[in-house]
């Protein structure tokens, strides 16, 4: 099973790499909607909430079909708001699936991320049920199919002593209580969605809930335009005394119904249980074996000055500041292993190189770069590509540009860049994933801040900035990265070779805050 999941992951990753490349080409990596799929679900939820509140004003449980028909007849608002509500409910499902596939492809499901994974599945399920109840509210031909099929499924379970399907055989009008319950579920479930979303992102620092404004407004605008220009009409009302003929089905919600109607409900439950079981088991199936599992970060207390930078930078809120117990004044960082995903970003935060996953701290990186220089011996006109192992730099070789791999560009300690430049290489090109594609959420943001904006552990001012270049390339964009490397190499040739120093001293000082956050959060 692990192997199967591994193959599925590789296929998904390859497929997404192609899609990313195409979308980056059209929309740039900043506005690539696939990178923002999780945030687009949040946008959808907000639009659904606002448009849903309007629709609720007109819905009547005593006359469900007629009241929705009345909405569809309102030329000025009801018709397009109803259409927008419907179209965006599909966007929510599709965007959530893309977001989930992305997390799956990147293996972001196990360990401390398992909570986000499992709650994500719960979100998707509740979202789905909410949409289902929404379609039943209309009480048209599709509602008839969905309600009858739902009843058929539940009637094989030993839950109800009487088949609920009898409510939909047409010998009695469907009771208003049913529409009341359905409406109640449709309105109450979003509260559940909000709660689960809160759990979903509870382990993340600085949750990124909304996409960039242009993408947000483009999405809302486009869906509104389609809703205005191509509103949904009304299907025939539900007629329980006739078999449903041709029905306008929402594929996102009803994709399985045509199949389900042809088989015994036990098969449908079996399929549901298999899909639910498999997706719920992904955190276990994707988790590497213990010997291969990246270990959590550790703090080397004798180096830690209590500067709090790692505490601020950790994207998973896995670091706390605690009072020192080694006889020195102040605070020291402490990693909570159960929250740490081993992204290594803290290793790049710490000027004194006192924190990071074992063998990936700043000190280890410096030792690695010395080995790298001994091994590769790049010349003064060569460019060294420091590449994130998840991105485009992994695998390909670039002429005259040896690759130094790092587990995440955000875990890169700037002293590595300094060391390379001062060792006399022509230039260092750091190839990261596009910012929103970072597997560790904030690696690229912190990398930029450290190199360009003086964020600890910053690239020291004595380093010639012309000899350091930051580039982004998604996994499928190796050719674009190669072009960047070539063009940078040409620039390096123009500016002349690098000058090496004999003895390179890296300073490990950092600023300790006057008022510690540890103090504030004590």
């Amino acid at each position: 099973m692990r192997r199967l999941i591994g193959v599925a992951r590789r296929l998904t990753r390859a497929g997404l790499a192609r899609l990313d490349r195409a979308f980056n080409g059209l929309y740039t990596a900043r506005f690539n909607p696939i990178y923002h799929s999780g945030a687009l679900v949040v946008v959808s939820l907000v639009v659904l909430l606002v448009s849903g509140l309007y629709l609720l004003l007109f819905y009547r449980i005593g006359a469900p079909y007629a009241s929705v028909e009345g909405l569809a007849d309102q030329a000025w608002a009801g018709r397009w708001i109803r259409s927008l509500h419907r179209y965006v409910s599909d966007l929510a499902i599709v965007a959530a699936l893309v977001h989930a596939l992305r997390m799956f492809a990147q293996g972001r499901s196990w360990g401390p991320r398992a909570l986000a994974w499992v709650s994500g599945l719960a979100l998707l399920f509740v979202l789905y049920v909410c949409g289902w109840t929404g379609y039943v509210m209309v009480w048209d031909a599709q509602a008839h199919v969905l309600a009858a099929e739902g009843a058929r499924l539940f009637d094989v379970l030993p839950i109800f002593s009487e088949p609920i399907g009898r409510a939909f055989v047409g010998d009695q009008p469907v009771p208003a209580a049913f529409f009341f319950l359905n409406l109640f579920a449709h309105v109450a479930l979003p509260v559940g969605v909000a709660l689960i979303l809160w759990i979903h992102v509870s382990r993340l620092a600085r949750t990124y809930l909304l996409p960039p404004r242009p993408l947000l407004w483009m999405t809302v605008g486009l869906f509104t335009a389609v809703a205005v220009l191509w509103p949904v009409g009304m299907d025939a009302p539900a007629d329980l005394r006739r078999l449903p003929g041709v029905v306008s089905l929402d594929i996102a919600y009803g994709f399985w119904v045509p199949w389900a109607r042809t088989v015994h409900p036990a098969w449908v439950w079996a399929a549901f249980l298999v899909v639910a079981g498999l997706t719920l088991a992904v955190p276990l199936l994707q988790r590497p074996r213990p010997e291969k599992r990246p270990p959590p970060s550790v703090v080397e207390e004798r180096f830690c000055t209590g500067c709090e930078q790692c505490y601020h930078d950790c994207p998973y809120e896995a670091i706390r500041m605690v009072p020192r117990t080694d006889g020195r004044e102040g605070w020291v960082a402490r990693v909570e292993p159960t929250k740490c995903v081993s992204c290594g970003i803290c290793a790049g935060s710490c000027a004194p190189m006192g924190v990071g996953p074992p063998e990936r701290t700043g000190r280890d990186q410096l030792a690695g770069v010395r080995d790298f220089l001994d091994r590769e011996r790049p010349g003064p006109e060569d460019v060294v590509v420091v590449g994130c192992t998840q991105g485009a730099a992994v695998g390909p070789r670039f002429a005259g540009a040896p690759v130094l791999p790092v587990s995440c560009a955000g875990s890169l300690h700037t002293s590595v860049l300094e060391y390379l430049v001062r060792a006399g290489v022509g230039g260092v090109l750091v190839a990261s994933c596009p910012s929103r594609d970072c597997w560790n959420r904030e690696g690229v943001i912190w990398l930029h801040a450290r190199v360009n904006d003086g964020r600890e552990a910053e690239l020291r001012s004595r380093v010639d900035r012309r000899r350091v270049r930051l580039a982004h390339a998604a996994e499928g964009e190796a050719d674009r990265l190669a072009a960047e490397v070539r063009s940078y190499r040409a620039e390096v040739l123009l500016m002349g070779g690098g000058e090496g120093e004999e003895r390179i001293e890296i300073d490990t000082l950092c600023e300790v805050p006057v008022v510690s956050i540890g103090e504030v959060t004590k």
Partner: protein
């Protein structure tokens, strides 16, 4: 941003939004005009089988005062046999048991029998299984039946249900409102 990219990006965005909106109303044929249904749906309450064996004096004496019933009757939900003939051919023969852990919930029947459109002679019988010495609770008929012609057009559902009297089955004509 070059023009080709803007045009390509806008076109794809419009296309994707349009496609997604289309998926919210894809015409799907659920049943063909050459399909129809005979549906049986009813609910029988209080169909309890009573077996009575008057207890001896000693047996009675052992029971608490409030439980002393000289008739010695016990009740459990009755089981019925459902039999359906279409043009003389048996299309359903089932035993329907009272649901619930103590078999004390109302008996319900919900059965869909697909038929092609056309005219049929249908016989439906719902007959209690009465073990020796047992009798049905008063007021519950030991058998409810319906026989008659059924004409089905494409996608019609002919519904056989319990008549308001509760003592016979009846046909609600296809397409007629309750």
């Amino acid at each position: 941003m070059n023009t080709a990219r803007v045009i390509g990006g806008s076109a794809l965005a419009v296309l994707l939004t349009g496609a997604l909106s289309w998926t919210s109303r894809v015409p799907v044929t659920f049943t063909e005009p050459d399909q129809a249904l005979l549906r049986l749906s009813w609910r029988l309450t209080d169909a309890v089988l009573e077996s009575c064996r008057p207890p001896s004096e000693e047996e009675l004496a052992k029971l608490p005062v409030h439980m002393r019933d000289p008739r010695g009757c016990t009740g459990r939900g009755a089981s019925f046999v459902l039999r359906v003939l279409v043009d003389g051919t048996e299309v359903a023969l089932d035993t329907v048991r009272a649901p619930g852990a103590r078999a004390d919930r109302p008996l319900t029947v919900l059965r869909d029998l697909p038929l092609a459109p056309g005219s049929y002679d249908v016989d439906v019988a719902f007959t209690a299984i009465l073990p020796e010495g047992a009798r049905l609770s008063p007021g519950v008929p030991p058998e409810v039946v319906w026989s008659g012609p059924v004409r089905l057009r494409g996608r019609d559902v002919a519904l056989v249900g319990l008549a308001p009297s509760g003592r016979a089955l009846e046909l609600r004509r296809p397409g007629t409102a309750p």
